[in-house]
Amino acid sequence: MSAPANIDAPTRDGVGDSPQRPDGIGKVTGEFAYASDLWHDDMLWGATLRSPHPYARIRSIDISAALAHPGVYAVLTHEDVPGAKYYGLDHVDQPVLAIDTVRYQGEPVALVAAEHPEIARRALAKIEVSYDVLEPLTDPRKAAFDATAPALHEHGNIVRHQPVRFGKISEGQRAAEVVVRGEYQVGMQDQAFLGPEAGLAVPTEDGGIELYVATQWMHVDLRQIAPCLALPEDKVRMTLSGVGGAFGAREDLSMQVHAAMLALHTGKPIKIVYNREESFFGHVHRHPALMRYEHGAWRDGTLVYAKAEIILDGGAYTSSTMNVVANAASLGVGPYSVPHIEIDTYGVYTNNPPCGAMRGFGAVQACYGYESQMDRLAAELDMHPLEVRRINAISQGSVLANGQVVDTPAPLAEMLDRLAATPQPEPADQTDIRNLPGGAANTTHGEGVRRGIGYGVGLKNICFSEGADDYSTARVRLAAVGGEPTALVHTAAAEVGQGLVTLQGQIVRTELGIERVVIAPADTQIGDAGSTSASRQSYMTGGAVKVACEAVREMIFERAADQFGVPADELSLAGGKIVAQCAGVLAALADFLGTEPIEAVREFHHRPTQRMDPVTGQGDSHTQLALCVHRAVVDVDVELGLLKVVELAAVQDVGKVLHRNSLEGQIHGGTAQGLGLAVLEEIQVVDGLIRNPSFTDYLIPTILDMPPMRLDILENPDPHAPYGLRGAGEPPTLSSTPAIAAAIRDATGLPLTRVPIGPEDIIHSVK
C-alpha cells in the first residue's frame, strides 16, 4: 500500500482492537430492521407462483380467476415485464417470469399482489397454468458428454469447460512410483441463511422505484433490475435493509424485480417475504460435484503428477457457474507443488435447481477431492497424513496449477507443524452419555464407539479473479459535530453479519485519530462497492475507506501546513488533534475544522489479474490466496453409524488481525458450514425435484452438533493488501469438510467417498 498506515499511533477501538458492533444493540434488543421486518402504510403483499415441474413447456396461463379473487390487486406474468425479459449475474439467461419453458422446479411463473399474505397464497392457487411436462435432464455427466441429451440452452449444456495443462503429464506418469485414484462426490448444499429473502418496493412520484432489500451486492442488482423495469438506473434507488446472513445465496436476484413490477403496476408499496420452503427454491445452491482424481508420487511421498476431472452441476441457469469452474480448475490440486498437472473442469446445465455462489465456491468441492487423495496417498505409502502434506506443501515462491507464482507468505509447512503440536482432546467421559454419539438418545454406553482423527488443508482465492476489476468506493466526511471531530462513512458495501460496519469504524479511527464514526446506510447513491463475497470486503471496502481517510488526512495536513507554517510531512493525527513532530499539538481537530467539513470519495482497486488461458488454464488469475488447515477428532458408533465431532482445531494465516472477535467468529462459522457439508447437509434432489425444502428435513448444525474449537491464528502480512490483511471468511469452510470426512474414515476404516456422510453410509458399508 502506498501511504503508511497511521497504525503506530493507536486510537481506541481502532484496527486491531475488538470494539462492539455498531448495529449490535439493535440486534440484541430486536430493534434492528431486517428486510422481512419492513412495513409501509398502505402496502400490499407480493407472492410468487412457481413451477411444480423441473422441465416443461408452458401452453397457457389463465389468471382470470386469481384476478377476480377479492383482495387481489394484480396478477402478472411474463407479458407484464416492462423491459428486458431476462437477467443474469454473468450471463443474461434467466427469465424474470417463465415465458414458454420452465427449466427447474420452483422457477417463477406469475406474481400476485394482495392485501394479506394468505389472500395472495389463495390467489396463486387460482392461477391456471397448462404445462407440457418434459423428461428432465438431471444427470450432469450426461449433460456434459452425451450428445443425445436435449440442449437446455441455445449454446448447449456446457456452461464452461476449463482445462489446466501444466508441465507434461506423460512425464509425470512415467516417473511415478505409486499412483492413487479416487472418485469423489459432493452433494448439493444450501446456504440456509436464517433471514429469508425479503424486501419492500415503493413506487416514487417520478415513476421510479425505491427498493429496500437484503442483498450482497446492490450495484449488480441494479444493473440487472433497471433494464427489466425499463427504467434508467437513477430511477431505481436501492437501500440495503438488514441482512440475515448471505453466504452467497443473495448474489443472484430473488424478489427484487418481482416486487418492483408489482409496485409499479399497482402504484402501492409491495412487500415480499419468502417462507423457508420458498427460500429453498428462491436462491441458488452449492454446485454438487462429481470428481475423478489420480495422483502419482515417488515412494518418499513427493508428488509428481495430478490428473482430475471435475463436473459441477450448475442446474438450470448460468448464475456464477463460470467462476465456480475457474476456482475448481485453478485450485484443483490445492496448495501442493505438483510438477505435472492435467485438470478438466466442466460446469453444466441440467434441470436440477440452479447452483451458484456459496462460501468457498468451486474451491470447496475441489478441496474435498484433493484432500481425500492426500489421505489415500498417505495410506498407500504408510505415511502420516500430515507428513505427505508437509512434503508437498507450497511456500512463498511456489508455482500453482495456473502457473501463478505465490508471491506472498504461504507458511503451510509451519501451519501443519502447529496443527501437529496442538494438544489432543481427552477421551470422551463415557459416564455421561451426552458425550457419546447419539447423545441423550441413549444409543450407546461406549460400545462400538471408535475415535478417528483427520486433517484437511484448503487454499482459497480472495477477491474476484480472472481480470475482474471488483473495486470498491468510499466517502469519508470529517466534520465537527457538537465540538467533536466526527466522521461519516458512506459506501454501498453490504453488511451481511460479518462485521464490515465495525471494521469501517476501526479503520477511520486508526487513520484519522478520532473516536466518533458514524456509518451511513449503504445505498446506491454512491459508487459500487462490489460484492460481499470472495472474502473480499475487508480488503476492498476496507481498502476504499482507508484510502478515503488518507485523502482526508492529506487535505487536513495541507491546510494545517499553510495555517501553522509546519511542513505537512511532519504532521500526524492523534487523540482528535493535529500534532507536529517538533511542536506538539497544533490544534484540536474540531476547532480546526470549524464549520468546514473535509470530505473525500475514493475508489480502491486491487492489483490486476489475468483470465485463465482457455486451453491451458495458465495465467496469474488470482489477487490473493489464503490458507487454512483443520484437524478433526470424531467419535463414531460404527454399529449405528451415529457420530459426534469431538473437537475441531484450525490454524489460519490471516495476514493481520483487524478485529479478533469477528475474525474468530468467521473461522468458527465457516468451520461449522464445513461440518454441515461433511455430515449433515444435502438438498436431496430426485428427478429434478427437491425432497427436503424445510429445516425439518434439511439439517444445519445445531449447538449440539458443533464441538468446541481451538484456533491458532497467524499473521504473515501480504504487502499488497491494506494492513497486510488476508481475506478470512471462506478458507475455514474448505478445510473442515475433508478433515471431518477423514476422521470418520480413520474411525471406521471405510472409504466413504461422498459427502455428506450419513449414518446409512457407515452402517451399509460395514461388513
Partner: protein, 159 residues
C-alpha cells in the same frame, strides 16, 4: 376475530385477526413488534422464541387465538428500561455472539430462560437447552461464551 393480549406488560387489542394467523404474525405484522424473527415458521429454528405466561415457546407455533387473555414477553420486553440492556443482551454483545443477528432475539430469550432457572449452567446444559435455536453464522462458540458470561453477570447482579 378480536384478540386481547398482554404484551411486555401492556394490554393490546387487535381486530380483524384471521383464524389462521400465528402469534408471531400478530406480533410482527399487526403490533409492530418485529423483534421476534421468522426464520422457519415451522418450529425448527427458535428465532421466534417468546414467553407465553412465563414459558418459552415458538411464537410461530402458537395460533393467535391461543394467546387470548395471556401474557406475552418478547425480546423487546427484556431490557429493564429504555436505553438499557438486560445482562443477557450485554453478554451477547460483549462475547461477539452476534453476527447477522437473525438468530439473536430468539437466542437471547432462550438464554434468558436458561439463566433465570439455572444460574450456573454447565456447558452440556447450555448446549442441551439451546439445541432448538439455530444459528448459521457463529458456529455457536461465541454463543457459548455469551451464555457463560450472562450466567456469571446475572449472578453478580443478584438478578
Amino acid at each position: 376475530m378480536r384478540l386481547t393480549i398482554q404484551i411486555n406488560g401492556e394490554q393490546h387489542q387487535v381486530d380483524d385477526v384471521w383464524a389462521g394467523e400465528s402469534l408471531l404474525y400478530v406480533l410482527r405484522e399487526r403490533l409492530g413488534l418485529p423483534g421476534s424473527k421468522n426464520a422457519c415458521e415451522q418450529g425448527e429454528c427458535g428465532s421466534c422464541t417468546v414467553y407465553l405466561d412465563g414459558t418459552a415457546v415458538c411464537a410461530c407455533l402458537v395460533a393467535a387465538g391461543q394467546a387470548q387473555d395471556r401474557e406475552v414477553v418478547t425480546v423487546e420486553g427484556l431490557a429493564p428500561g429504555a436505553g438499557e440492556l438486560h445482562p443477557v443482551q450485554e453478554a451477547f454483545l460483549a462475547a461477539g455472539a452476534v453476527q447477522c443477528g437473525f438468530c439473536t432475539p430468539g437466542l437471547v430469550v432462550a438464554a434468558h430462560n436458561l439463566v433465570r432457572r439455572n444460574p450456573e449452567p454447565s456447558d452440556a446444559q447450555i448446549r442441551e437447552e439451546l439445541a432448538g435455536n439455530l444459528c448459521r453464522c457463529t458456529g455457536y462458540e461465541k454463543i457459548m461464551d455469551a451464555v457463560r458470561m450472562a450466567a456469571a453477570n446475572t449472578q453478580e447482579a443478584g438478578a
